[in-house]
Every structure is written in C-alpha cells, then in structure tokens.
C-alpha cells in the first residue's frame, strides 16, 4: 500500500474522531471536520456522479458552493435530499450518500450510451430533434423527463422542524474571510451592533485554504484569534453555517442557518433557521470563485480547480492526487504547485497559457525543480473515468490554435485556474450594476441603491494585503455611516506582499479540431453546456446573454453558473465580435444557493399553518361533534351530525328543530363595533343607506353600507344603546375591514364629526336562541327583562341579567323565527351555553351550525353579503329599494344614479324552484332562458344559494338573473354537464311570507 492520502498533520479535521459513512453502499471512514467531498478524496474516490445530459462520469471539481459536478442523493426516506453538493455536506456519523444520475453505478452507467448520440442532442435539441411526428412530443417528453434530472424528491412529508428569526443590526458583514474579519474587528471598536455570518462552521474563509501568514501567524491561527476577539464582544453576533441567499429591498437579507450537523434528524432540534436580517449598513465580503479553463475534455474526474486542491490539502489534509499537472493563466495557481511540492506530492508540470511566466511565484516553482511550460495548452485528456494522461501542445502566436509536437504527461490530477471571479451575487440581487474590468477580465460591483460596501475578493481585490486593507477601511467607514464612533485602532496588519503578473484570458482553449467536433469543451458542467453549444446558439442568431442562457441552459443549473457564467459570456462575446462589457452578464437572482421549502414555511405548518380563531364556546362544539366551517380565520360549527348521520339529515334535523321548537347558535364571530359620540347618528347616516336620525334608544335597525361605487359592501344590525351610544354588528368576515372603513372616513373625510369606534367583537360571547320556544327557555334565565312580545317586540334591545351574567339581549332574527341574541362577557359564554343546552333539553333544544343558519335565512329570502353579493350588486338589484333613503346623502348614493346602475335589466335577486323537487341546483350554476342546439347559449344569470328546505319539503334556490323582477313566473334552465335542471322563477321569499312567526 502506497502512502496514505491523508496527511498526518495539519488541517481543520479532528483525527481523534473518526466518522463512519456510506457511499453507494460502501462503508467508508473520514474525520470530524471533513466534508463528504474531502472524505471521499481521502478514500481515493473521485468519481461521484454522472452528468445531466450525456451521463458522462464526473468527479469533484471544486471545494465549496461553486461545485457543479459532485452531486449526491443524501439519505433515503422522507429526509432524502436531491442534488446536494458533496463539497457542502458536513460529514456525520452514519451518513448515507448515493451517486446522482446513474444506474447501476457511476463507474458503469447504462445511460452513458447517450454520450454517443451527442450529435442529435445539441443546444435546444428539444426544439429541433423530436419534432416528428407531431404527436410524438408527448412520448419524447415523457422519456426525456425520465432520463434527465439529477435526483428525486421524497414522497413523504418533511419530518423535520424549522425555525424563523428576525434581527436588526447596525452593521451586517457577510463573509468571514480576511476582509470580512478585518472589517468586523475594526467595526467592533465602536458600540454599533454587528452581525457577521459565514456559510462555514469556522471563520477564516480562504485563510483556511491557503498557506499564508498575517503578523507572523498562520492564516487559520490569525482567523481563530480574531474569531475569539469577536466572540467576547457582546455587540457582535456571529452566525456560522449560515448562508445569505438573497438581498432584498431596504437592506433586508435572507439567510439560512443550518442548526443540525446531520440531516437525519436530531431529537428536539430544528433543522434550519430562516433569518430575516434588517441592516443599516451591509459589508459584502463573499470572496471570489476560481474560473475554470475551457479545454478539451475538461470535465474528466481528476480535473479540479487549483484553489480547491489547496483547500483539500491545507484545510482537510487530503492529497487529491499523487501526480499533479497544473494548467493555469495566472501566478496565484503556482501556490498550488508550491503547497503540493512542500507536502511531497509530485507536480509533474505546470502548463501556463501566458507567453512567459516570470513572476515571483513561477520563479519559485521553477527553482524548486518543477517544469513550467509557457505559451502552451492542454489539448486532450486521456482517461474516461479518471485522468491518466494529458496531451500538451504549444499555442500559436494569437493563441487561437495549437502547433508543434504533442507532448504527453502522465498524471492523475489536473489543477486548473483561469483566474478568479468576484462573487457579485448579493450585490447583483439589489439590482446593482456590475462593471467589466478589462485588464484581467472580471466583473466587479458597480453602482447600487442599497447601503452596501463590497470589499476584498468580491470587489476584485484579490491579494491578501488588499483584502485586509479593504476590511480595515470598510470597518471604519460603516461605523461612521451608522452614526457611531470608534476608538483609534492599529493600522493594517503585516502580511507578505507578493507582486503578481497579469493573467492571460483565452476563453476557448484550442485543440487539434474545432471545439465540439471530436472532444467536448465544457463550459457549464452541471448542465452539460459546451463551448460548441454557445457557438451554435450564436450562429442561430442568439445575441443576448439572457436568450442564450435560456436556449442553451448555460448557468441555469443548481449551481447557478458560479463557475461557468463568465467563460460562457466571454465565449459568446468573442463569437459575436463584441466586448464582454457590451453583452453584459445575466442577472443574478435569489437564492444564491438552494433553499429548503421547509425553512421558508418555518413553524407555520400543521396546526400553526394559520391562526385558528376559536370562539368562547369552541370546545363545547368540538366535544359535541361539530364539523367545522372555516370562516376567515374562525372555525365555526358547520353542522353537528349525530352518529352516522349524513350532512343532509343533520341539517334537516337542525332546521326542523329550530322551526318547531328552539335552536341555539354560536354567533360570537359576528363583528361588533361600539360607536360613541354626539355625532354617531349623523355618522351612521352617511355610512348606511337608510335613515338613523329617528332610531330610538333601545331599538335596532338593519342597515346596508355601500362602497363609493354603489355596490353592497356589508350589512348588519345596529342598535342604539344610549343617547350617543350605538352598537354596530358586521358580518364575520368583514369585521376588521368595516372598522378600518369607519376609521378611514372618520379620520380623513369627516374629522369634524365627534365619534369614536372601539371593536368589542372579542368582548362578548353571542348566543342566539331561535324558534317558537326560545322565549320560554330564556324566561327561565332572567327575571329582570320582560320578554313578552308586547314589552319586548322584535328589533329592540334590553339590558339585564341572563344566567347570572350582565347581558345585552337583542330581538334580532336571521331565521324568521322569534329569536333572541344574547351578548355576555366572553369568559361566561361557555357556562351560559351549557346551561341553555341543559335547560332546553325539555324543548329538544338543538345546536345548529352555519349550514342550517344559511338554509333558514334563505327560506326567508335574507341575503348573505359575499354569497348573494359579489361586489357588483346594488341594493336595488337585491330588491331592497326600501332601505335607500331619498332624503339624505350617503356613501355610494351618487353611483346609484349612474346609467349602468340604474338599468332595469341588471342582474336582480329572485327565487328559483326546480321543477323536480329533489334536484338541488349547484351554487354558481349558470342560468339560460332557452335551450338551443348551438353553443354558446346566452347566459342570463347564476345561482347564488341553493338548498333543500326541510320545512317546505323541496329544493329551492336564490339567483341573480338579468331583469329578474320581470321574469317572475317564467321557466329557466340550468344546463349541467350531464343533465339540465328546469326551474320556475319566483319571489325570493319562500316561507312565512306574512312574517307571523317572527313574533312567536
């Protein structure tokens, strides 16, 4: 056995804590502190998955969020996660991961055969290739959808719990690399509130990957020192394992914090927390992503970003290859050669695109005996499932082709570097512009309207020295901008400053044949987009990056093109003969990394999904078998079925009990607004359509309020409690909006009227007793209210004691029966209700729900706002001419005179009686006056309410029909899918037309 792949010293792993895990069923071992990727590499595994379209073998390419290839299906069962990057998964005991997109294994994948058909799968192939026969697309689509895709979703509900958190801060620093840390340290000398976040569990960013020194301390040591300084400061909040995924207006930043290491569920722990952080100033220090080179077969397992090699080596103490070739266009990548050499790993060759490599780092590399080939390129990679050998040729003068003899180098790892791209994502989310810096060909942050300072590598300042300097400066600046002051602090710290030579950008590395002819030059590895695809798109007329992106799917994968966007856009620009700055870059949108839906939902699932409003009698209803109806946020009893009773039977029983004896209803949910002030009557006059000046104390009146456009907005009964004191009731659903409506008119239009409003909906439990025995029952509960019909007629109100509670009793009926609405303090509702039910047993008292209430009121032709009205219905349409005063002004009055609202062929409220008494019309059913063979048949209206009436022994309905008042007695039809129901148009008053029952 040759030397192990794990270094015996160094790195941020804990060698005392081995961690067992499974990959594709193989039992493997890593250490605490590993990612799945580093642990796989330490076990000699490079081949992790197959690609999206061609099913080509793919390995670990990067070391962080930019990883396009190493996607796994993590865990099985309800917690399984699709397309997760092995580079982002922290290793935990018992982890189970599986290769994405291959069967039966990544080494032998049956669909690998697709690679041979690449000629019929060019960019936009689904628009071109599968077009014949026309009907065939449905089959092709099914197959393509089956073959494509990189994982599967769990079919069970998510068993994990998630958390939400809001936070406010003066300064938010995103990224804890050298620049972020420096900014935080500097800003922490003030009393400003600071939050600093990093997606990793340790602060330090690139300092943990590179072999650098600050103040004679190693990068990781310096970072740890700063971290502990910050941790001891109570003004600083540090969020680790937290990714800022979106930057929204007003400096609101969305973040996801991972709370558990394993995803397999930790008892009593929530898995993730969604942070919504509102900051005064934001410092973006997100760093940069290394840019790949686009060369022939650059997707083979064993091809890795040069910086990622350093991360694996220095942070995880893993040797990702034994014989390494580097292919670079800049000086920075030579650090990889030097670090590898220092650890005794053989660096076979460094291929440099530049005509000469004369910088400090290349010279150091050469002096260590490593061969550097200048002005050359890799033109081929040998080894399908792992790199075995590279083919190298010299570049022509213009760098567009290759020449000379082929040279071959044996190697098992190719480190590539095309320079670095600032991570401008969050800046871009704010609609911030990016500016093309021509010198090295990078987009750097430009103007933004939010309070952002971008520093360090994400602003295009790549050297460690400039990162630190940026950090100190920004730290000082944000303290000032947020209105704080800081103590005088030390100037920037010492670090080695190594000058670097310019990069050489060659966007498509030439090989023997044009790109795409034999081998593939991959740009977007996750979506299998090649340089040839972009060229094809350009030839087919695509000029905009946004269009090219959608056509080729460049940058549309889960990695959002973190490594592929810039090379892709540069290639497009080159083909179009334009500057990159002229074609621009696509817009980055949130999320920066995928966000779990569960985290967005947070605690608002199951019982907490939305508030459930419960009336004071809620649990009586529940224990007596109520079936609930959701009315707004309220749960109202819909009906109370007895054992095995159907809804229809239960409702019929409740209806008849109420009509024949006494029913009891929980009406606590109705809106109640207390109105006080000397101008209350005048105010009501303006709000309601009828007259309120003459309502006497102790009396109640029904009112309808209109919007400015004359349409019915709400209705209810208002009672006069005292000289300047009224109580308004509203429908359950409109309680809050009516109060807001009253306040709006009072505050903005009629501020001179002296009137105050107070919501008392929740103060009272409202119990309605309805039916011929209601009075007899209530008499048992009060001795200070005379309930006799003469002393207490309908539409009046009395105060007194009911069942030991102070009560307001109203003779308001929504059933047409003699009814009493009793308001008592909410805490007494349950007690009084239970007593009514017990005492009412001798009358067969029956609790009834909203369905029975609806049937009973419809039999009497009473409307329900929102059922008979839909925002386009006037009181005239409802046949309520009597409620509209001609002698005063009110909201909506002028609109009632508009020609359209005054038409006599508007939809008007009528009753419908189906010819077949057992047929119940569907609500919403469209009504026609004549049946005809050809469609469409002109529709004249619709059914608004429809029920079976137990007391009438037949079905009936309410409807809005064009010119309905003139159609009384006519026959109309409601055509349904399988049958047509024929009905007669009637008055909408069906029961007790004389109103005798109301007085009991």
């Amino acid at each position: 056995m040759s030397r192990p792949l794990r270094l015996s010293l160094g790195g941020a792993i804990d060698r005392k804590k081995p961690v067992n895990f499974q990959f594709n069923g193989r039992q493997l071992c890593g250490y605490k502190g590993d990612t799945l990727a580093s642990a796989l590499l330490a076990n000699g595994i490079h081949l992790v998955s197959r690609s999206f379209k061609y099913h080509r073998p793919r390995g670990i390419f990067a070391s962080g969020t930019e990883e396009p290839n190493a996607l796994v299906q993590l865990e099985v069962g309800p917690r399984t996660l699709a397309s997760h990057q092995a580079t982002k998964i922290k290793l935990y005991e018992g982890l189970k991961a599986f290769s994405a997109n291959c069967w039966p294994s990544p080494a032998f994948d049956l669909l690998g055969i697709l690679g041979f058909f690449h000629r019929i799968l060019p960019a936009g192939f689904y628009y071109k290739t599968f077009m014949w026969p026309r009907w065939g697309w449905k089959i092709y689509e099914y197959l393509i959808r089956h073959i494509a895709g990189l994982g599967y979703c769990p079919r069970q509900p998510d068993p994990d719990r998630y958390d939400h958190m809001n936070a406010h801060t003066d300064i938010l620093i995103i990224g804890s690399g050298p620049s972020g840390l420096a900014a935080a340290i500097e800003a922490s000398h003030s009393s400003a509130r600071i939050i600093i976040v990093d997606e990793n569990s340790k602060f330090g960013g690139r300092l943990l990957s590179d072999n650098s020194k600050i103040n004679n301390k190693s990068g990781p040591d310096w970072a740890a020192q700063q971290e502990s300084i910050l941790a001891s400061n109570p003004n600083v909040k540090m969020l680790r394992n937290t990714t800022a995924f979106g930057y929204y207006d007003h400096n609101l930043i969305g973040m996801i914090e991972n709370l558990t290491g394993p995803i397999t569920g930790v008892k009593d722990k929530k898995r993730q927390r969604l942070w919504k952080i509102r900051a005064k100033q934001v410092v973006l220090a997100q760093g940069a992503f290394e840019r790949p080179l686009v060369f022939s077969d650059n997707d083979r397992p064993g091809v890795m970003l040069a910086g990622a090699i350093r991360t694996f080596l220095n942070k995880y103490a893993v040797i990702p290859g034994r014989r390494v070739a580097l292919f670079v266009n800049n000086d920075d990548a030579y650090r990889t050669a030097l670090d590898l050499n220092a650890h005794g790993v053989e660096v076979v060759v460094v291929i440099d695109l530049r005509k000469e490599a004369t910088g400090v780092l290349p010279n150091r590399t050469i002096s260590e005996g490593i061969e550097v080939v200048e002005d050359a390129a890799i033109t081929g990679v040998i080894g399908k499932s792992h790199v075995k050998k590279i083919e190298v040729m010299m570049l022509s003068e213009d760098g567009k082709s290759v020449q000379g003899e082929k040279r071959f180098f044996d190697c098992d790892l190719i480190g590539i570097s095309g320079g670095w791209n600032p991570a401008v994502h969050l800046h871009s989310h704010t609609n911030g512009k990016t500016v093309w810096r021509k010198d090295d060909g990078v987009f750097i942050p430009g103007k933004t309207l939010q309070n952002i300072i971008s520093i360090g590598a994400c602003s295009g300042n790549f050297s460690l020295q400039s990162c630190l300097k940026d950090g100190w400066t920004a730290g000082k600046k944000v303290v000032k901008l947020t209105g704080f002051s800081s103590k005088k602090t030390n100037s920037p710290k010492d670090t080695e400053n190594i000058p670097e030579q310019p990069w050489r950008n060659i966007w498509i590395i030439p090989s023997n044949a044009p790109a795409g002819q034999n081998d593939k030059h991959f740009v977007d590895q996750q979506h299998d987009v090649t340089a040839a695809d972009i060229q094809l798109a350009a030839r087919e007329g695509y000029q905009s990056v946004e269009h090219t992106k959608r056509y080729t799917t460049l940058g549309m994968a889960t990695d959002q093109g973190k490594t592929s966007n810039i090379p892709g856009h540069a290639i497009l620009a080159e083909i179009l003969g334009k500057e990159v700055s002229a074609i621009g870059t696509t817009t980055f949108r949130p999320p920066y990394t995928p966000v779990t839906i569960g985290a967005l939902a947070g605690p608002y699932t199951g019982l907490l999904f939305a508030p459930i409003r419960r009336s004071p009698m809620h649990y009586w209803h529940e224990s007596n078998g109520a079936i609930w109806e959701d009315v707004g946020e309220w749960k109202r009893p819909w009906y109370y079925p007895k054992r095995n009773e159907s809804m229809r039977d239960a409702v019929a029983r409740e209806c008849l009990a109420t009509r024949n004896s006494v029913g009891i209803l929980d009406a606590s949910t109705l809106g109640k607004i207390d109105i006080q002030g000397p101008d209350s009557a005048e105010f009501l006059n303006r709000i309601y359509t009828n007259n309120w000046e003459n309502l006497e104390i102790g009396c109640c009146r029904y009112g309808i309020m209109l919007r400015e456009d004359g349409m019915v907005m709400d209705d209810g009964v208002t009672s006069r409690l005292g000289k300047n004191h009224y109580l308004m009731t509203t429908t359950t659903g409109n309680a809050a909006s009516v109060l807001a409506w009253l306040e709006e008119w009072s505050q903005t239009e009629w501020p001179t009227l002296k009137v105050y409003f107070t919501s008392v909906t929740e103060q009272y439990a409202t119990i309605t007793l309805s039916g011929p025995n209601a009075r007899l029952l209530l008499e048992e509960f009060t001795n200070d209210i005379d309930l006799g019909g003469g002393a207490f007629p309908a539409m009046q109100y009395r105060e007194g004691t009911v069942g030991g509670f102070r009560a307001r009793v109203f003779r308001i009926s929504f059933t047409g029966e003699c009814a009493f609405e009793i308001n008592v303090q909410a805490s007494g509702g349950a007690n009084l209700w239970a007593n009514f039910v017990n005492a009412g047993e001798k009358y067969g008292i029956t609790p009834y729900g909203t369905e029975t209430m609806h049937v009973l009121r419809a039999e009497k032709g009473y409307i329900i706002v929102g059922q008979e009205t839909d925002g386009t219905v006037t009181p005239y349409d409802l046949g309520m001419n009597w409620i509209i005063s001609k002698n005063k002004d009110f909201i909506g009055r002028r609109s009632l005179n508009r020609p359209d609202t005054a038409r006599d062929d508007r939809k008007q409220l009528v009753g419908l009686l189906p010819n077949d008494k057992t047929e119940i019309l569907p609500e919403g059913g469209q009504i026609v006056s004549q049946l005809q063979a050809t469609y469409p048949i002109p529709m004249i209206g619709h059914v608004t309410s429809s029920y079976h009436s137990p007391i009438l022994g037949r079905s009936f309905a309410l409807a809005l029909i064009k010119g309905g008042k003139k159609r009384l007695g006519q026959t109309v039809h409601v055509p349904l899918v399988e049958r047509t129901i024929t009905c007669q148009v009637t008055s909408h008053l069906f029961y007790d037309k004389e109103g005798h029952r109301l007085n009991g």
Binding site: K276, T758, V760, Y764
Partner: protein, 201 residues
C-alpha cells in the same frame, strides 16, 4: 362580578391551571403564564383638552402617557398603555373594571369620550426569562433589542400572524426581560402553541 367558576379563560382548554407556575417553565429559563381577567378598559378622548386629562387623572390617579408606545402607572394597580394619539388601554386589578368604568364616566361626564369595557376581549401572557425577547423576534419584525425596546415601552404589532400589544415591564440583569403580551381571546390558543413551539428546548 361573576364568580370565577363560571368563567373560562381563552386558554382553559390547555389545562394550564393544573400545573403550578413554577412547572410551566419552558426549556431552561423561560417562564410563561397566563394572567386572565385583568380589568381592561379602552379609552378614547382628546388629549389636547386639559379638562379631559384632568378628569382621567382624577379617575385613575395616574397620568395618561403622551409619548407614543409608552406605558404609565403600575400593572399591580392601574396602568395606561398608549395605543394611538387619542386611544389608551387602561388596566386594573382583576374585577376592578366596574369601578374603573364608573370613575371614568363620572370624571368625564359631558365630554366627548368613549369608555369601553374590554376586560374579556384579550388575555395577557406573561413571559419572563432570558430568551423571552428572542422568542418574540421569531415571529415579529420589530426591533426588540434592549438598546431599542426599553422597560416601560409598548408596541402594537403582529406576532405569529396575530395582532398583539407587547409591553416590556422590566429588564432584570439576572433574570432577563419580563413582558406582557395582550392577545385577543380568539387568537390566544394559537399564539400560546406558537410560543411553545418557538421556545428553545
């Protein structure tokens, strides 16, 4: 006043009265209790009128707070919570609502005011302990940091999709904050369950 056995708090179904307050600790350091039946009166009137302020002072023996989002008085006696430029929520001991109403009506006779008993419309949840404010921050977008939200301040806001009034009574260096959440009856159980879910275990 009605005997307590006839009354039910909006959280009655949770059976909280069966556990002693000390056992109602959620996690390590949070104490959460319901304080039902505290007298509550909604008061509206014009603070520009001195006679009104004088009358209220005479009725309650405390001044109405003029600074927005502040509270005057003592919870154990009488307290006035600022709700708007012309609106306050007055609280008093359990059962004191009738007396409060009577005194106020007497002292503001013939003035344009609205004095409304809303004792039973809301219940109070008392949270005390270190994590109390951070739990609320899980469902509330206001800045409740101790630098910003100080004892004696109140806020009307949305907590876990529910309309609430939050009043910070005190901030003890050892125990942490003690605060009251005034929540409408019908939302109380939802909010309580949400708080239990949000509390760290």
């Amino acid at each position: 006043m009605v005997e307590t056995y006839k009354r039910k708090t909006p959280l009655a179904n949770l059976g909280l009265e069966k556990v002693s307050p000390s056992e109602q600790k959620i996690g390590k350091s949070l104490l959460m209790t319901e304080i039902p039946y505290i007298a509550k009166v909604n008061l509206r009137g014009d603070p520009a009128k001195k006679i009104f302020l004088k009358g209220v002072k005479a009725a309650l023996n405390i001044q109405l707070p003029k600074i927005p989002n502040t509270v005057s008085g003592k919870f154990s006696e009488v307290q006035a919570i600022w709700l708007g430029p012309d609106e306050w929520l007055l609280t008093g001991r359990s059962g004191a609502e009738a007396k409060l109403l009577k005194n106020l009506q007497k002292q503001t006779e013939n003035m344009h005011v609205a004095i409304t008993d809303i004792t039973d419309s809301r219940t109070i949840m008392q949270l005390s302990g270190g994590p109390a404010l951070s739990i609320i921050m899980k469902g509330c977008t206001l800045d409740l940091h101790p630098n910003v939200f100080k004892p004696g301040q109140c806020a009307q806001t949305i907590l876990a999709k529910t309309n609430v009034i939050i009043h910070l009574l005190k901030f003890d260096k050892k125990i942490g904050p003690t605060l009251h959440i005034y929540v409408q009856n019908s939302f109380a159980e939802h909010l309580w369950l949400w708080l239990i879910d949000a509390a760290p275990t």
